[in-house]
C-alpha cells in the first residue's frame, strides 16, 4: 500500500525501518481500532436501549437487574472486564482459548460496557420527554411500541445526541484497551514499533491517527446534529 515510499527509511542502524512498513503497520492498527469501534457501537447502541427500558420497567426484578448491570459495568475498569471475559471460559469451564475468541471477547466486552453508559443516557433522554407526548399518542390510538418507536425515541435521539457524541469519542480512544488481549489495534502496534525502533515516532503517529479518527467522528456527529436541527422543542 505504501510501497511508493519504499526508499524512505526512518531511524538508523539496527533500529532503522522503512517508512512504508511503519505506515502500513500503523494503518493496520487503525483499521483494527475502527473495527472494534464499529462493532462496539453496532452492538451497544441497541443493547443500551434494551437495558434502559429494563431499568425503567415496572417489573421490579428486571429494573433491579438492569440497575446492577449498569452499576457493575460502570463501576469496574473496562480493561478488567476484557480480561475477565476472555479468560472466563478457561478458568470457569476449562475451555481452550482460541484466537477468534480473543476478538469475540473484545467485542463482547466493549458492547456490554458501552451499553451500560448508553443506557443511562437513553434513560435520561426518555424521562425528559413530556408526558403530553405519551398522552397525545394514547388518545390517537398508538400502541405502546408505536408510541416509543415513532414518537418518543426519535425525540430522545435529538436530545441525547451531544451526550452520546461524548461517549462515542471516548470509545475511539478506549479501543486502545484491547491491547490487554494482544489484539493488533493501533496502540499495540505503536508500542511494538516503538520498541523495535527505539523511537517515539510511532507514538506520535498513533496520536495523530487517533486525533484524525476523532475529527472524522466529530464531523459525522456534527452532520447528524445538524440534520436533527430542523425542529426544536
Amino acid at each position: 500500500m505504501f510501497s511508493f515510499l519504499d526508499g524512505i527509511i526512518i531511524g538508523s542502524g539496527v533500529h532503522a525501518m522503512p517508512l512504508s512498513t511503519i505506515l502500513s503497520t500503523m494503518f493496520g492498527g487503525l483499521g483494527m481500532a475502527g473495527l472494534i469501534f464499529i462493532v462496539a457501537l453496532a452492538g451497544s447502541l441497541p443493547l443500551g436501549v434494551l437495558v434502559a427500558l429494563c431499568r425503567m420497567s415496572k417489573n421490579r426484578v428486571l429494573s433491579f437487574l438492569a440497575k446492577i448491570y449498569i452499576s457493575f459495568l460502570r463501576g469496574t475498569p473496562l480493561i478488567l472486564q476484557l480480561m475477565f471475559i476472555y479468560f472466563a471460559p478457561y478458568y470457569i469451564f476449562g475451555l481452550k482459548l482460541s484466537l477468534t475468541w480473543r476478538m469475540g471477547a473484545c467485542f463482547i466486552g466493549f458492547i456490554l460496557n458501552y451499553a451500560a453508559y448508553f443506557a443511562e443516557i437513553y434513560r435520561a433522554g426518555i424521562q425528559s420527554i413530556p408526558l403530553g407526548q405519551y398522552e397525545a399518542a394514547s388518545v390517537l390510538g398508538y400502541s405502546r411500541s408505536q408510541t416509543f418507536t415513532k414518537i418518543v425515541f426519535p425525540q430522545v435521539i435529538k436530545r441525547i445526541a451531544p451526550a452520546m457524541g461524548n461517549e462515542v469519542i471516548t470509545l475511539i480512544k478506549d479501543t486502545s484497551l484491547a491491547f490487554v488481549l494482544s489484539i493488533a489495534e493501533m496502540f499495540t502496534m505503536a508500542e511494538t514499533l516503538a520498541a523495535a525502533m527505539v523511537s517515539m515516532v510511532p507514538y506520535v503517529l498513533a496520536a495523530a491517527l487517533y486525533w484524525f479518527f476523532t475529527l472524522l467522528v466529530e464531523f459525522a456527529l456534527g452532520k447528524f446534529e445538524k440534520k436533527l436541527s430542523y425542529y426544536h422543542d
Binding site: P130, G132, Q133, E135, A136, S138, V139, L140, G141, Y142, Q146, K150, I151, P154, Q155, K158, Y230, Y231, H232, D233
Partner: protein, 256 residues
C-alpha cells in the same frame, strides 16, 4: 324529531387520587350533534373528568360507554372494571381530545402530525388520508403550513393543527380541555372561531372552557362543576344568564 343517538354516557363515576376525592358521582350523557361546555373553578375536577372519559385516567367506579360500546362498568362490589384491550382500542377510535398544551409531535411536520395516526393506527389509504388532511388544513386556515414543523407556528396555529389532527381520525365526539388557556386573546379568537364552525357543522363536542361568552353562544348544554360534583347544569343561555345556585352565581360574577 326522533330521539338523538347517544354518543357518550358517563354514569356515577368516582375518582380519587389517594385521599383526594376528585370526582364524586358525576353523570353525564352527550347525544349526537350536541355541544356540552363544562365550566367551574380550577381544581374542581374538570380535567380529571375528561381524562377519565379519554382513558388517560382510570376511574374508581361508574360506567363509561361510547354508544353501544361499554368501556367500563361496576362489578358486584361497585368497582369499575374496564373492557379488554380491543374494547379500549375501539373506544379510542370513537373520541378525540384536544389538549391545553396542544401536544403536537414536534419532530413531525404539520401534515405528518395529521396523517400519522390515520395511517399507522387506522391503516387507511395514504392518498385518501393526505387529501383529507389537506382539506382539514384548509378548513383551519393553515393550507400554507403543511410542511412546517410545530415550533415554527404560533400557539393558535398549533392548536388548530391539534384540532385537525383529532378530526382526521373521524371521531364521533371531540373533547377539548381548555383549548385556549395557553393562548393570548388574539390567538384565542382564531381557535374559538374554528370550534364555533365545528359546532355549526353539528360536531359532537365536550368543551372545558373559561370563556363564558363562548360557552353561552356555542354550547347547547352547560355543566358547572365545583369540588368534584355537578353543582348546576342546564341549557347554555339559561345557565349563564340566569344561574340558580349560589355557587354558580358567585363563579359567574367573579368572571365579569
Amino acid at each position: 324529531m326522533s330521539e338523538k343517538k347517544e354518543i357518550l354516557r358517563i354514569d356515577h363515576i368516582k375518582k380519587a387520587f389517594g385521599d383526594n376525592q376528585v370526582l364524586k358521582d358525576i353523570s353525564l350523557t352527550v347525544s349526537h350533534g350536541e355541544v356540552v361546555a363544562i365550566i367551574g373553578p380550577s381544581g374542581s375536577g374538570k380535567s380529571t373528568l375528561l381524562r377519565c372519559a379519554t382513558l388517560l385516567e382510570t376511574m374508581d367506579s361508574g360506567t363509561l360507554a361510547y354508544g353501544d360500546l361499554v368501556v367500563a362498568q361496576d362489578d358486584a362490589s361497585g368497582k369499575a372494571v374496564y373492557g379488554d384491550k380491543q374494547v379500549l382500542k375501539e373506544a379510542r377510535m370513537r373520541f378525540g381530545l384536544v389538549f391545553q398544551q396542544f401536544n403536537l409531535f414536534p419532530h413531525y411536520t404539520v401534515l405528518k402530525n395529521i396523517m400519522d395516526a390515520p395511517l399507522l393506527v387506522q391503516k387507511r389509504d395514504e392518498k385518501e388520508v393526505e387529501q383529507e388532511a389537506r382539506e382539514l388544513l384548509e378548513k383551519m386556515g393553515l393550507s400554507d403550513k403543511a410542511d412546517m414543523v410545530p415550533c415554527d407556528l404560533s400557539g393558535g396555529q398549533q392548536q388548530r393543527v391539534a384540532i385537525a389532527r383529532a378530526l382526521a381520525m373521524n371521531p364521533e365526539i371531540l373533547f377539548f380541555d381548555e383549548p385556549t388557556s395557553a393562548l393570548d386573546p388574539e390567538l384565542t379568537k382564531e381557535v374559538l372561531r374554528v370550534i364555533r364552525q365545528l359546532a355549526e357543522e353539528h360536531m359532537t363536542m365536550v368543551i372545558v372552557t373559561h370563556e363564558m361568552r363562548f360557552a353561552r353562544d356555542v354550547a347547547d348544554h352547560i355543566i358547572f362543576m365545583d369540588g368534584g360534583v355537578i353543582v348546576e347544569e342546564g341549557p347554555a343561555q339559561q345557565l349563564i344568564d340566569n344561574p340558580q345556585h349560589a355557587r354558580t352565581k358567585a363563579f359567574l360574577a367573579q368572571d365579569e
